[in-house]
């Protein structure tokens, strides 16, 4: 079964957000709520409403898998968004679940 999370960018500071339980935006992927293909639809609708409310921008879904220590996006791009740039370990958001060459 494919797993997804909803991500966005916070308007005020441009920081990355993940949609967590109870429709609360979370700074860390670890706190994101995973959805299946059906569950993602209302979550994206909530995201669209948040755009209209001028709280976030650029809402979209990201495919993830369950790794031993948490959710892990499939694409390199989303892993960099989730865990931070690979070139400044001191700026990482969370330890990369399976390492991005840091």
């Amino acid at each position: 079964m494919k797993l997804f999370v909803v991500t966005a960018t916070n308007l005020r500071d441009g920081a990355i957000r993940w949609l967590g339980a109870g429709n609360i935006w979370q700074p860390l992927l670890a706190n994101a709520q995973p959805f299946d293909a059906a569950g993602i639809v209302p979550a994206l609708a909530f995201g669209a409403a948040e755009i209209s409310a001028q709280r976030v921008i650029g809402v979209y879904q990201v495919e993830v898998r369950r790794a031993p220590d948490g959710l892990d996006p499939l694409s390199t791009r989303e892993r960099i968004r989730a865990f931070g740039p690979t070139v400044h370990p001191e700026f990482s958001y969370a330890p990369a679940t399976s390492g991005l060459g840091v």
Partner: protein, 569 residues
């Protein structure tokens, strides 16, 4: 303190070659900041949607990247005063994470900016005459030039005078601020082209004619990206007085006839390609004949006034050879090595232009911390008339240093991790931010640059290899100029996996050429091996004094291909 040092103690007036804003220029940029502050307020309050706000923020250099907003500040033709450099350091410390990134367009970018801080940052920068106007959007972008302008021994005409004229002319140009696509102009005044004019929308070579008259050779339609082209010669000799009229004519033809139906075909290079250089020349000449007249004439008085801003600083009369320098060289091999790679001959006897490499082993190309920026500002005050340049190779330059002062300067640079003896060598890698920061990227570039630079950590090896430019881009937009590297590396996305296409034999100098693909794209983990293999083959096969390009030209791509796909397979 000896008297010579006292005389050279800095003051604002000592800044050489800086175009100083007057009250009106300041009023102009301050008003821009206030207008933007109001726009940001309206955005944060929800009065403006992202669709409405995006063009406004882009007009002020504010992009949205992977992790945060990114602010790009213009450094006109790459020239900064020490005071401006200190302001950049202040912004990095107060609003970013303590560093800034110098780009291949001689600008600086901050990667961790908050929208709500952007107006305050622009206000702080406006107080030192800096801004972000025209660092994005389909307008005429920051004009770039030779980082050794006004210093290089081989210079014929000081390009900064004309770069400043072009900066003024292109600032909020009423007709050319909504072109089909962005428009980049580079100008050089030397026989040896360090401004890469062949890969710009317009490239200008300033020349001197009979009786010392200045004129310009103009190239059009160069550019990298998805369809790379080298510029074609549009005019052999445009007299100084006609420069602006000529450019107006080119831009007007482009604004009307450049394609707007497809973003990938909108640059002027495609127009040149589609209508042909001869037809374009006819159109431009026709247009120029119509607009020629006092209105567009570049008045010699204006040129003179601006030239005075770039008058040579108060050089001391010195012997051509500095015994202090020779002695230090003989006594310290590390210093001697640095002088071999990081100095450029100066037109003034007893002086040298110094390249401060922002490419330490394993470092992020073009990054400087606040402390480093402040250190460079202090060294510029002490040793180079308070003036700093940014090169398109993402290094910094102190253009006018006394040769006697070089040993002391080098020691101080070393204290701040700024003494890498690799300018122009294999460790001096040009790299765009790539997927670690850039929202458009396909693949990472910085960590690969770091990897490659560690492979060549041995500086003696780098010096043995000699001049060799590695250039890397994280996507086909080619901000890292990969097409014109001796070795070019381009990140491509293969079903979510980072892969890299390698080219060899490109150059952006007066013999400009585009690199040729070596073979199938390789994976992230193979890139550094491939680069090592290419360099190894060059060392094996090069003739006496032969450059990488000459070797590629002589033996062809084939042997390199065999070496790589033997090595990487």
């Amino acid at each position: 303190m000896d008297t010579a040092t006292q005389i050279r103690t800095p003051s604002a007036a000592a800044e050489a070659g800086i175009y100083h804003y007057d009250a009106l220029d300041h009023a102009f940029i301050t008003r821009r900041v206030e207008a933007f502050r109001e726009q940001v307020q309206r955005r944060l309050s929800g009065a403006l949607s992202e669709d409405e706000f995006k063009p406004l923020r882009l007009m002020n250099g504010l992009y949205l990247q992977l992790h945060a907003y990114m602010l790009r500040i213009a450094i006109p033709y790459g020239t900064l005063s020490s005071k401006q450099m200190r302001a950049l350091a202040h912004v990095a410390r107060k609003y970013d994470r303590g560093y800034g990134h110098f780009t291949t367009r001689q600008n600086i970018q901050y990667n961790w900016i908050k929208l709500e801080d952007a107006p305050a940052i622009l206000a702080d920068l406006a107080s030192v005459g800096m801004h972000a106007i025209q660092t994005s959007g389909n307008c005429i972008r920051n004009v770039t030039t030779d980082q050794f302008a006004g210093a290089a021994a081989d210079e014929i005409v000081d390009p900064r005078v004309y770069a400043e004229i072009l900066r003024q002319w292109s600032t909020l140009h009423p007709e050319f601020s909504f072109l089909p696509r962005k428009f980049k102009i580079a100008i050089t005044g030397s026989g040896h082209d360090r401004a890469a004019i062949a890969v710009h929308d317009i490239g200008i070579r300033a020349r001197s004619g009979p009786g010392g008259a200045v004129g310009f050779e103009i190239f059009v339609g160069g550019g990298l990206g998805r369809s790379p082209f080298l510029g074609r010669r549009l005019a052999d000799w445009v007299p100084e007085a006609d420069l602006l009229g000529w450019l107006e004519a080119v831009l007007r033809v482009y604004n009307q006839y450049g394609r707007r139906d497809n973003i990938y075909k909108a640059r002027i290079k495609i127009l040149v390609h589609e209508v042909g250089i001869d037809r374009l020349r006819e159109q431009v000449e026709e247009e120029f004949a119509r607009i020629r007249g006092p209105k567009y004439r570049l008045d010699p008085e204006i040129v003179e006034t601006i030239r005075r801003h770039f008058a040579p600083p108060a050089f001391a009369a010195l012997p051509a050879v500095s015994p202090a320098l020779e002695q230090a060289r003989a006594g310290d091999p590390a210093f001697a090595r640095w002088t071999r790679s990081n100095l450029t001959p100066h037109r003034q006897p007893g002086y040298a232009a110094v390249t401060i490499s922002l490419k330490p082993t394993g470092g992020i190309p073009g990054d400087a911390t606040s402390e480093q920026m402040e250190a460079v500002a202090a060294l510029a005050d002490r040793y180079s008339f308070g003036e700093i340049r940014v090169s398109h190779e993402q290094n910094l330059v102190l253009a006018h240093v006394r040769q006697d002062d070089l040993p002391a300067l080098w020691r101080e640079l070393g204290r701040h991790g700024l003494d890498a003896a690799n300018a122009g060598l294999v460790g001096d890698i040009i790299s765009c931010p790539g997927l670690d920061y850039c929202a458009l990227a396909n693949a990472r570039s910085i960590p690969l640059a770091q990897d490659i630079s560690r492979r060549f950590a041995d500086l003696d090896l780098q010096h043995r290899i000699g001049p060799l430019k590695i250039k890397m881009s994280g996507c086909i937009n080619a901000c890292g100029h990969h097409h014109v590297g001796d070795i070019g590396i381009l990140g491509v996305d293969k079903h979510g996996v980072e892969t890299y296409q390698i080219t060899i034999g490109g150059t952006a100098t007066e013999e400009a050429a585009l690199g040729q693909v070596v073979g199938p794209a390789v994976g992230y983990d193979q890139v550094a091996d491939v680069v090592e293999a290419l360099v190894a083959l060059y060392l094996e096969r090069r003739g006496e004094g032969e450059s990488f390009l000459q070797t590629v030209a002589r033996i062809g791509v084939r042997p390199f291909k065999e070496k790589v796909y033997g090595a990487a397979a």
